[in-house]
């Protein structure tokens, strides 16, 4: 039953239908080709037989002309003794045989040109058998006639073998093609079934499933690889979404709860207008913070999901970095730190300017926030083989190597920074924006401090065309 079902499904596949079409085409080709070979072979052997007979008749009539009937009869008698394939019969006007290896004149009608196809008896290995022969008769004058023929039994046998092999070849071609087509489509079906099975598993909720890829590297494998890449991306997005939801639940719940408790408790007892105002102001401040966190989460989610791909444009990164340095330089100075920048002019990248400024602001914010009196921050933008590189390096407390991966996750704040303001989303956005721009993000120890690098991929646009004040 199962095999039957599989067979039915195999027959329905595109591969099998394709195979059938090829099969018909191939079958017809084989038939025509072998038919041609048959026709050619038969034609040539027939021609050879006739030529041989003609040549003998020419030779014998020469003999007759020069040596007369007696000479011809002698030669016929002699050849009849030696020849196994040639047949001779010389008769007088009373149809009495004067010589030759045929017993009697064949009782068949003569065709055009004196040709005859006739059966005759011949001893083979002690038995008398009937063979087919072809011959031509020659009128010698005075009622004397000569018949010269050839045994074509062998030729007919070969023709029959040829016919049979032709039919067998076509039949075999069709049979093999059919079986091959079925096998091919079953193989294809098996592989498509693997893809279907994976899809069903994924639809059932197992996002970790991947389509098996064989070592063949054919188009199905390429399809599988692409689908797997797509699944990878989907899984990442869904996991990101889950994480965001969990984070919102976790990190927005507590401040909301705090806010609500404060308002409830304030309403319980009598309080002065000033107290009420104070509580309301506090609530507004907290709401603003919540909104900020929310916006940051949204920004990260959008950058990660690739929704912002459409908003990318060429923009002058050099100009952006310069004004950013200018914006933050007084901030560093106020904290008795120094911010220096080295910006190579005219570097243009294809990206989202808005998110890039937010990213740079986050990095500079961190550098200034965690740095102390006398620390320095260095902002560098340079082009290395048309690959822009942006570096924010500080001499602050830095991030221990074991935490360098972790800090990129959402809401991760190191123990040392628990008491300073911040949501733990700054570096997550940096990572998301780096991803959106296909840039490598590196965190290194600056000995001392932190050195964050954004290494962009090669930019295709002409750097020279970038307007300096864009």
């Amino acid at each position: 039953m199962i095999l039957n079902l599989n067979l039915k499904r195999a027959i329905r596949t595109t591969a099998f239908r394709q195979a059938l079409i090829y099969l018909v085409l191939f079958g017809v080709s084989v038939f025509v080709l072998l038919g041609f070979v048959y026709w050619w072979t038969v034609g040539i052997t027939t021609l050879q037989t006739d030529d041989t007979i003609d040549a003998e008749i020419t030779g014998l009539s020469e003999q007759y002309r020069s040596n007369g009937l007696t000479g011809l009869a002698a030669i016929v008698r002699e050849r009849s003794r030696n020849e196994r394939q040639s047949l001779y019969l010389l008769i007088d006007p009373q149809r009495i045989a004067l010589g030759g290896n045929l017993n009697a004149w064949p009782d068949v009608p003569t065709q055009e040109g004196g040709w005859l196809d006739f059966p005759y008896q011949r001893p083979v290995g002690g038995k008398i058998v009937t063979h087919q022969a072809r011959g031509r008769h020659l009128l010698l004058g005075n009622g004397y006639q000569l018949l010269v023929g050839r045994d074509i039994h062998e030729r007919l046998r070969i023709e029959k073998i040829l016919q049979r092999s032709l039919l067998w070849a076509v039949a075999l071609t069709l049979a093999l093609g059919l079986v091959g087509g079925l096998l091919m489509s079953r193989n294809l079906l098996r592989r498509v079934e693997a893809i279907n099975r994976t899809s069903r598993d994924i639809m059932a909720g197992d996002l970790k499933q991947r389509i098996p890829v064989t070592s063949g590297d054919d188009e199905l494998d390429q399809l599988a690889v692409n689908l797997n890449d797509m699944l990878e991306q989907i899984e990442r997005l869904v996991m990101g979404m889950r994480q965001v939801t969990e984070n919102i639940a976790h990190d927005l719940r507590s401040p909301l709860n705090r806010m609500r408790s404060r308002l409830e408790v304030t309403l319980m007892g009598e309080a002065s207008d000033t107290d009420y105002r104070g509580v309301l102001q506090q609530t507004i401040d907290e709401a603003s913070e919540l909104i900020e966190t929310f916006n940051a989460l949204l920004n990260i989610a959008q950058a990660e999901s690739g929704q912002l791909e459409a908003g990318k444009k060429d923009f002058n990164l050099s100009a952006l970095v310069r004004t950013m340095a200018e914006l933050y330089e007084p901030v560093a100075e106020e904290r008795s730190m120094t911010l220096k920048s080295e910006v190579e002019p005219g570097i243009t990248i294809f990206g989202n300017k808005h998110l890039m400024s937010q990213t740079l602001a986050n990095l500079l914010d961190n550098a200034v926030k965690y740095g102390e009196h006398g620390d320095s921050v260095m902002l560098v933008l340079r082009n290395i083989d048309n690959r822009p590189e942006l570096i924010v390096a500080d001499s602050g407390p830095g991030i221990p190597e074991k935490d360098q991966d972790r800090v990129l996750d959402r809401f991760v704040r190191l123990e040392a920074s628990r008491n300073s303001i911040g949501s733990g989303l700054g570096l997550s956005l940096v990572r998301a924006v780096a991803q959106l721009h296909c840039a490598d993000l590196t965190l290194k120890d600056n000995l001392p401090g932190l050195r964050v690098g954004l290494h962009f991929e090669e930019q295709e646009i002409e750097q020279a065309q970038a307007k300096p004040n864009d």
Binding site: G311, P330, H354
Partner: protein, 228 residues
């Protein structure tokens, strides 16, 4: 000022109308795009606050039609769509400013006041004066009580913006957008630091402080001796 609020969230609109009233303005409310378009077409408003997502006729279309009718009234878009693209779409449709929800009420107030001021002839002025502080846009000279003050280019733009909006509250976001052309939230007090630098230059050695901080809102450049 007479203000029209076109917003389908009636509760939010109610707060807005009340807040605008408390700030000395007269505000009307339209709950959908068609009503809003009709009310705005009749004219008589100094500024419109238009939500992007509206029933019957969306905010973008309302503004496009008003502009097609030749209405010059300043318009501020209010939207839950915060992308830079959405902002650009809003401005292209004929909006003058774009504010993303949720926002502080002070931010909204400061922006509509700035919008109305922008329509004033002050735009073509080449010099400004607040108290004894003078700024000449052509020579790029800044003087206070006759003494020249050296400022850097960015400080000049900051001062110019404050001068153009003298007597009004300008928020940190407005400064970041208009002076630096950035549309993001700086976490630290970036703008405060720049203001305090400017303040050192224009106010420190003089008796009256012109550049004032408005708690919970932003800054205001004005002559305190002038009664408004």
């Amino acid at each position: 000022m007479r203000i029209l609020v076109i917003e389908d969230d009636t509760e939010a609109a109610g707060y807005m109308v009340k807040g605008l009233g408390e700030s000395g303005h007269v505000a009307d409310h339209a709950a959908n795009g068609e009503d809003g378009l009709a009310m705005a077409s009749d004219g008589g408003y100094d500024v419109l606050i238009v939500d992007r997502m509206l029933p019957k006729l969306d905010g973008l279309s309302v503004v496009e039609r008003l502009r097609a009718e030749g209405q010059q009234v300043p318009i501020l878009f209010l939207s839950a769509l915060g992308e830079v693209d959405d902002r650009v779409k809003g401005l292209k449709a004929g909006g003058d400013d774009y504010l993303v929800k949720p926002h502080a009420f002070t931010e909204l107030l400061a922006r509509i006041e700035a919008l109305v001021r922008r329509r004033n002839p002050a735009d073509v002025e080449t010099s400004f004066k607040v108290g004894d502080l003078e700024v000449d846009l052509l020579t790029r000279r800044v003087t206070r009580a006759g003494t020249e003050i050296q400022v850097q280019p960015r400080e000049f733009r900051l001062l110019e913006y404050l001068m153009r909006h003298a007597g009004q509250i300008v928020t940190r976001t407005m400064l970041l957008e208009n002076v630096w052309d950035y549309h993001f939230d700086p976490k630290t007090n970036v703008i405060d630091v720049h203001i305090s630098r400017l303040r050192t230059k224009i106010d420190k050695e003089f008796d009256t402080a012109l550049l004032q901080t408005v708690r919970g809102a932003g800054y205001c450049l004005r002559d305190p001796e002038l009664k408004s």
